[in-house]
């Protein structure tokens, strides 16, 4: 894996600068991360082989005070609108995972003209009483692992979870994840549903819904829930993958996304 360039993107007054990871050449693609925080990984490397990938940090993770100015989804939409403007991104392909998938879907519904193609990977944002979404926050580390992965012993997963030997680096990573959970929970605790279902009809982008068939946090029935509300959306279930298919089945997911965006 090759590291991406980390850019500090200034935002209109009141917000701390957004740390956006940038890499690759080609048409612009924005990737929105899940509840455990910003990262650069093999999946993004593959996307960056054909696209210029921008992976911003969710606001509030690094600077918790930002959350005082973000009172819900509407404020969050304006935050990203500002960020895209600052990055000079008129129209992008948007890929979102988990919480990032929820935000991506909201953006595609709020600003249909900004999104060319939309990829939702195990996205949060909808709710079914007969298949409740799990709780990744107030749960034991063991249960959390089971919610997130089909097979946590796979080397790819182990590598993602590994903590650095160096105590200072390790604490930094723990804080990074802790703060990401705090700042994403700000928009979805205790039930990750804020009315997205009624807004999805506005999505105009060509949409691909990718889901880990064994996702125990957001069961795969939600793939159909998204597809049913977005005109023309396609669903691709990924076998041998839980909530993070782009890590557990990186090749398959990368290929599917690149082909869809081509």
């Amino acid at each position: 894996m090759i590291a991406a360039e980390s850019r500090s993107i200034p935002l209109p007054s009141g917000f701390a600068a957004n740390t956006t990871l940038v890499r690759g050449e080609g048409s612009p693609l924005v990737y929105l991360h899940g509840p455990f925080g910003q990262e650069w990984n093999g999946f993004l490397d593959e996307l960056a082989s054909r696209h210029r990938v921008y992976a911003p940090a969710h606001p509030g993770a690094e600077e918790p005070d930002d959350l005082h100015h973000l009172d819900g989804i509407f404020d969050l939409m304006l935050y990203y609108d500002d960020l895209f403007d600052t990055l000079g991104l008129e129209r992008v392909d948007l890929v979102g995972h988990s919480f990032g998938g929820m935000v991506a879907a909201e953006l595609a519904a709020t600003f249909p003209q900004r999104v060319r193609k939309l990829v939702l990977i195990d996205a949060l944002g909808l709710w079914r009483d007969d298949a409740p979404v799990g709780d990744h926050v107030m749960t034991t580390p063991e249960k959390q692992l089971a919610l997130l992965y089909n097979d946590a012993t796979k080397p790819e997963v182990a590598a993602r979870l590994a903590l650095p030997e160096d105590v200072k680096e390790r604490n930094k990573l723990i804080i990074h994840r802790f703060s990401a959970v705090a700042s994403t929970s700000h928009f979805m605790w205790p039930i990750p549903e804020r009315g997205l279902a009624k807004r999805l009809r506005r999505v105009k982008a060509d949409t691909l819904v990718i889901w880990g068939r064994q996702d125990a946090l957001v069961p795969a029935v939600y793939a159909d829930e998204f597809a049913a509300r977005i005109a023309g959306a396609r669903v691709r279930l990924v076998d041998g993958a839980g909530h993070v298919p782009q890590v557990e089945q990186q090749d398959e997911v990368s290929r599917a996304v690149l082909e869809f965006l081509a």
């Binding site: 918790p64 959350l67 604490n171 802790f178 605790w189």
Partner: protein
């Protein structure tokens, strides 16, 4: 010093294999399996009997608090319990510690109910406003972790304004918007019942209490030795805010067991102490330290200090009597003489004017609780009542209608203190509005 008989109101008959079978005492212990309604009815009568006994035996105050969905203590809506106590003819304080402000929407409910209690009790109410544990706020009541404190501060401003400003007036908060704030009634105590803060040791709360000139009570069960560092942190904030060293600015909760002799105390109460720490304080890290409820700053501090283990989960269930009572000082127990000596030392060291004694420890039967309470009232209380008298401080945070053991020379209801409070409140309102 003021001594408050504090009732935690827990579930007294939890199974011995509780820890093996359940992840936590809070939020998720399954109600149908563990919480029998008829049994709870029995407990509630016992709880009230015990509180009424404490009232009859001369404690300065009766302490209640609010918690939800757990076996540690589930008073749920403590104002209901307080209402039955308020009906009794008594001169003891009703120390409501308290109503968890972020859980009320609109928080006018607290303004109204506490005012009602104050009127009903003849001005005996302490208005305690804790922020609430992560378990109660984010776990049981679904409050967004990052909103717990903002909601607390806003509710505080609203209730205080509702009690001190003439109604009706509009209140435009972020979480509560009201066109007409005009509670009927306002509290009997003027400008309002004494406000008490409480907590488990977060710096933000110390600052808030010190800056607003409220009293702060440290409520945890690690004992007086472990409390020293935390209470000192609070006193440090008090000094920084330019306040005096009045010991009534601080309170502290302590588990206490009294026997005729040290040996008897150990024999009778140790099983209940072990049971309490084994089950009631079985709170895992994923329930106590929720991201966002716990700030990034606090997490960095904690990681820098040690690891990320929950401070509660492993505490004390296997400790011996000696470990509890002497080495760790978690429990104060023994003969009346031993208990009085230890309490005096703890109170002096921590510099607390409000001592909350926990004499009903979860699995203790009513007879044992009564015995513990009687021994304490008859043989310990007289020996600790005079602590701080030599320094001559006035308790500005005691309800004016709670006149029990009031110094004969002092003006009725701390009139001087009240006058000061008016000035203080005017200044506070100005700053905050």
């Amino acid at each position: 010093m003021k001594t408050i008989w504090f009732h935690m109101q827990g579930y007294r008959d939890l199974p011995d294999d509780f820890r093996e079978r359940h992840e936590s005492i809070w939020i998720t212990p399954p109600n149908d399996e563990l919480c029998d309604s008829a049994t709870v009815g029995k407990y509630l009568h016992w709880n009230l009997d015990e509180l009424e006994l404490a009232d009859d035996l001369g404690f300065d105050g009766l302490g209640l608090n609010e918690h939800h969905q757990n076996g540690y203590g589930f008073p749920v809506s403590p104002n209901l319990i307080a209402a039955t106590l308020a009906r009794r003819k008594s001169d003891a304080a009703i120390v409501m510690l308290g109503n968890t402000l972020p859980l009320y929407n609109p928080p006018m409910r607290v303004a109204e109910e506490m005012a009602l209690l104050d009127c009903l009790s003849g001005g005996r109410l302490v208005a305690g406003w804790p922020i609430g544990s992560a378990m109660d706020t984010t776990g049981c009541y679904g409050i967004t972790p990052t909103e717990v404190r903002p909601r607390y501060y806003e509710a505080h401003d609203l209730i205080k304004a509702a009690w001190t400003r003439p109604g009706p007036f509009p209140f435009n908060g972020k979480f509560t918007k009201l066109r007409y704030v005009n509670p009927w009634p306002k509290p009997l105590q003027k400008p309002h019942p004494p406000i008490w803060c409480a907590g488990g040791g977060s710096v933000e709360t110390w600052k808030f209490a010190a800056e607003n000139d409220y009293t702060y009570s440290y409520l945890s069960f690690f004992g007086h030795k472990a409390a020293k560092k935390l209470i000192d942190g609070y006193w440090n904030e008090v000094a920084k805010a330019g306040r005096d060293e009045n010991p009534y600015r601080a309170g502290f909760a302590q588990l206490v067991v009294v026997g005729e002799t040290d040996a008897e105390a150990e024999r009778e109460y140790l099983p209940h102490i072990k049971n309490f720490f084994d089950k009631s304080l079985y709170i895992p890290g994923h329930h106590a330290m929720v991201p966002g409820y716990m700030t990034k700053q606090s997490m960095e501090f904690l990681l820098g200090q040690s690891g990320s283990a929950s401070p509660f989960a492993t505490l004390g269930s296997n400790f011996s009597w000696k470990e509890h009572v002497e080495n760790q000082g978690i429990v104060i127990g023994g003969s009346p003489a031993t208990v009085a000596d230890r309490l005096r030392e703890a109170v002096k060291t921590l510099r607390v004017g409000h001592l909350m004694v926990v004499l009903q420890i979860q699995s203790m039967k009513p007879e044992q609780t009564a015995k513990n309470t009687r021994l304490f009232a008859e043989k310990v209380l007289p020996k600790i009542r005079d602590i701080w008298d030599d320094e001559g401080w006035v308790d500005h945070w005691w309800p004016s209608g709670a006149t029990r053991h009031a110094p004969k020379s002092a003006p009725q209801g701390n009139g001087a203190a009240r006058k000061r409070a008016v000035v203080r409140d005017a200044a506070t309102l100005e700053v905050r509005s």
